[in-house]
Amino acid sequence: MSIGLAHYLIVSLILFALGLYCVLTRRNAIGILLGVELILNSANINYLAFSRFSSGQYDGQVFAIFVIMLAAAEAAIGLAIVLGIYQNFHSIDVEATETLRG
């Protein structure tokens, strides 16, 4: 059995599951950002796999470039927010930031 679309989809699914687990369980804000990066990468694998095996066009690769670009913007903003939280709460534990709790 040669490597086909389903193989790449399964690898991407495993990456997505690990990233979701990371986002759900981490209490460190940077850990959560690492999980989000895993999820974005799994989406990119899907784009490229469908682009190669299912459409044969290059549209998926262009989309992947947009995703990478948005991930870069997200990382910059996310880490700026993390540093802001650290300045205000002296911790990047997301459970420490409960100022809005009613």
Binding site: A17, L38, D59, L83
Partner: protein, 170 residues
């Protein structure tokens, strides 16, 4: 099953590296190890892109993720607190409910992937994709391309505003 061809073997190797280092990101008790295994994941994903005949995207992945985002992440990890203290540095809570939720979602998606007959074309021979991507970016996708530059500018200004030290005159 008449043995694996070389291409299949390379795929399993790269996919294994990717998944094992992603597991390191998700389960490592130390945030520094998590950040460094994310770098392994990015390299593995770049390898998968090469196997998918996406040479340009693979180079972009290495340049932006491994060169840019990773440095930023490790920088932030080192800047913030008590990374040496393993118990505090990367605590995870609610493992069992999270595991159940993730297993349910992953199970549904795996069933969908395996039970669907995907529309497929025979994959062409790998060819340089830079020309087609450049034509796409400046042709069909010119509007998202220009919007992307606005988003990046806004993100940079926003990051500067958010992370600068607040000047209070009290």
């Amino acid at each position: 099953m008449s043995g694996l061809s070389l291409g299949d073997l390379v795929f399993y190797l790269v996919a294994g590296v990717t998944i094992i280092s992603a597991a390191g990101v998700a389960f490592s008790p130390n945030i520094v190890y998590s950040a460094f295994s994310l770098m392994g994941t990015f390299m593995g994903v770049a390898g998968l892109y090469v196997l998918l005949a996406a040479d340009f995207v693979a180079v972009i992945q290495v340049l932006i993720y491994v060169g840019g985002i990773m440095v930023l992440m490790i920088f932030a990890v080192m800047l913030t607190h008590r990374i040496a203290d393993v118990r505090i540095s990367n605590r995870s809570v609610g493992r069992l409910p999270a595991l159940i939720v993730v297993a349910c979602i992953a199970g549904v998606m795996a069933k969908a992937v395996l039970n669907t007959t995907w529309h497929s074309v025979a994959p062409g021979t790998p060819a340089p994709s830079t020309y087609a991507i450049g034509n796409g970016l400046l042709g069909d996708y010119i509007l998202p391309f220009e919007l992307a530059s606005m988003v990046l500018l806004a993100a940079l200004i926003g990051a500067v505003v958010l992370s600068r030290k607040e000047l209070r005159d009290e």
